[in-house]
């Protein structure tokens, strides 16, 4: 009896379970983790501000910014400036993106036009677009047009270059397949080359979204009555840091919103990716 018991103990000790040693790679943090990060930063900021670590003129506390923002929202100030900015960026983006996609497709598809004009597009690419604003104002006057054009230009470049690259990289066997099944040139562009280059085009659009925000704000700071950029400049000149920060926060949320919407559209348009 005793011997049997001893044997069992030995067997038990000799057994070693094999565990997953790469389990750390599969750990999934909870979805509320990013919220904790942002909230933590805000709380820290608030605490430091209240303790007087930095002066309100330099960096006001989040609660102060929030209440100033609420007042500006009620007075309609945010609304007028935001609408002015949104129309500018929306129209500029739409014009720049559609012209960019069309020209990119054409340059990518027609060898002759490609050889003639792609070098032109590339040689103008390095010019920082904002440097053209004085020239555009000279040409087009001081109204909305030069601002729209500068945003459209900023969007046009990343889109046209990405579209062109996308078209150049379309899988040849897909074009062959389309031709085999009787597709004519226009349908090859519409049904094969355009959808095949859409992922690259979207990469260009996302890049362009950043540029368009930058150009919109700069243009508004230089020459505009209304718009978030003009608002930030105005409060900066008056040393009203809290109201200035409201503008900055709006921009950060606007940027986030634009990025998220583009990602959402991308998922809708490219379900096959």
């Amino acid at each position: 009896m005793q011997q049997v018991a001893v044997k069992q103990v030995v067997v038990k000790q000799a057994r070693q379970t094999i565990r997953n040693r790469v389990a750390f790679m599969e750990k999934v943090p909870p979805i509320y983790a990013p919220v904790i990060g942002i909230l933590g930063l805000l709380v820290l900021w608030e605490a430091l501000a209240r303790m007087g670590v930095f002066k309100p003129d330099y960096l006001p506390a989040p609660t102060l910014i929030l209440s100033a923002g609420w007042e500006m929202l009620l007075s309609g100030e945010i609304y007028t400036n935001l609408v002015a900015s949104l129309i500018r960026i929306g129209a500029g983006f739409a014009i720049g993106a559609s012209v960019g996609i069309i020209i990119g497709l054409v340059l990518g598809f027609f060898r002759w036009l490609d050889a003639l004009f792609t070098p032109v597009v590339y040689s103008l690419y390095p010019i920082p677009k904002i440097a053209l604003l004085p020239l555009l104002i000279l040409w087009l006057g001081i109204g909305e047009t030069p601002k729209l054009v500068i945003i459209a230009l900023g969007v046009f470049y990343p889109v046209v270059l990405n579209t062109h690259a996308g078209v150049k990289n379309v899988d040849r066997s897909l074009i062959k397949a389309a031709v085999t099944f009787g597709a004519k040139p226009f349908n090859i562009i519409r049904k094969v080359i355009l959808p095949a280059s859409l992922p690259t085009i979207f990469a260009g659009l996302k890049m362009a979204a950043g540029y368009s925000m930058l150009l919109m704000i700069t243009a508004e700071m230089i020459a505009a009555e209304k718009g978030i950029g003009a608002m930030i400049m105005h409060y900066g000149n008056m040393l009203m840091t809290t109201n200035l920060m409201v503008g900055v926060i709006i921009l950060s949320m606007l940027g986030l919103l634009i990025n998220r919407s583009l990602e959402w559209i991308e998922r809708k348009v490219l379900p096959w990716k």
């Binding site: 899988d171 066997s173 897909l174 062959k176 397949a177 389309a178 031709v179 085999t180 099944f181 009787g182 597709a183 004519k184 349908n187 049904k191 094969v192 959808p195 095949a196 859409l198 490219l270 379900p271 096959w272 990716k273």
Partner: protein, 258 residues
């Protein structure tokens, strides 16, 4: 309607600025309802020939033509080695692509789409995207797309070479049963001799450097059931006969590292 390949020759300049003769003196025909398999070692130009017949490459000299065209535009379709399904189209949308381009009515697209998707055994996967399918299923969709236009000549360029051996065997059987129902004139390219003997009415054996037709071998076995026991000896005899024709070239190809 039959297809004739007449004195086709293909030369090109390689990266060392040397003229290479990829195809030389190619003459053959594919009769109506005939299944012809091109077999040869790598580098013999069999895919080049298929591309010329498919209108995706021009020959340096010679020509390829349909004979007995009775007023109607002859159609051909290709099943690609790379499968080449449009990744942004669902299985159904891929299958009806050729019908769309031909201007077929929505009703015809639906009927034929459904018919050929069922024929290749993809019912239930109509709205799946290619990335959601396995290799074998992708190529079934590729075959359905090629069949849907009801071509006068079906070209297949090593369609199963990317599949694993088991899937390949099943796909060969299925292809044969599909062919038995459609009786399409077919030109099929492969480097697999067993596959050639299993599928072909006639096997065209090619040599390399230059790519020439070495021999044309009719396979005198019943079209269905060649893998049955009673045909085994003869089957092996054909395989061996073709292997002896190709062997030296295949070894040469290996030495050149192609």
């Amino acid at each position: 309607m039959r297809i004739t390949v007449e004195n086709v020759e293909k030369r090109y300049i390689d990266s060392n600025k040397q003229e290479v003769t990829a195809l030389k003196n190619i003459n053959c025909t594919i009769a109506e309802q005939e299944f012809v398999v091109l077999v040869g070692p790598s580098g013999c130009g069999k895919s080049t020939l298929l591309n010329i017949v498919g209108g995706l490459l021009s020959p340096s000299s010679g020509s390829v033509y349909f004979e007995g065209v009775q007023g109607k535009e002859p159609r051909l379709s290709i099943v690609f080695q790379e499968i080449a399904l449009f990744p942004w189209r669902t299985v159904y949308e891929n299958v009806i692509f050729g019908l769309e381009e031909r201007g077929a009515s929505k009703k015809e697209q639906q009927e034929k789409g459904r018919h050929y998707i069922e024929m290749v055994g993809l019912s239930g996967f109509e709205s799946a995207y290619p990335k959601q399918l396995s290799g074998g299923m992708k190529q079934r969709a590729g075959i359905a797309r090629a069949l849907a236009v009801e071509p006068d000549l079906l070209l297949m360029d090593e369609p199963f070479s990317a599949l694993d051996a088991q899937t390949r065997t099943i796909m060969q059987e299925e292809l044969l049963s599909i062919w038995d129902r459609t009786k399409l004139s077919t030109l099929y390219v492969t480097h697999n001799i067993q596959e050639a003997v299993y599928l072909a009415d006639r096997v065209i054996v090619m040599s390399r450097r230059p790519g020439e037709i070495k021999s044309i071998i009719p396979i005198n076995l019943p079209k269905i059931g060649r893998d049955r026991e009673e045909h085994r000896l003869e089957f092996e005899r054909y395989v061996d006969q073709i292997w002896q024709l190709i062997r030296n070239d295949a070894q040469a190809a290996l030495k050149e590292g192609e």
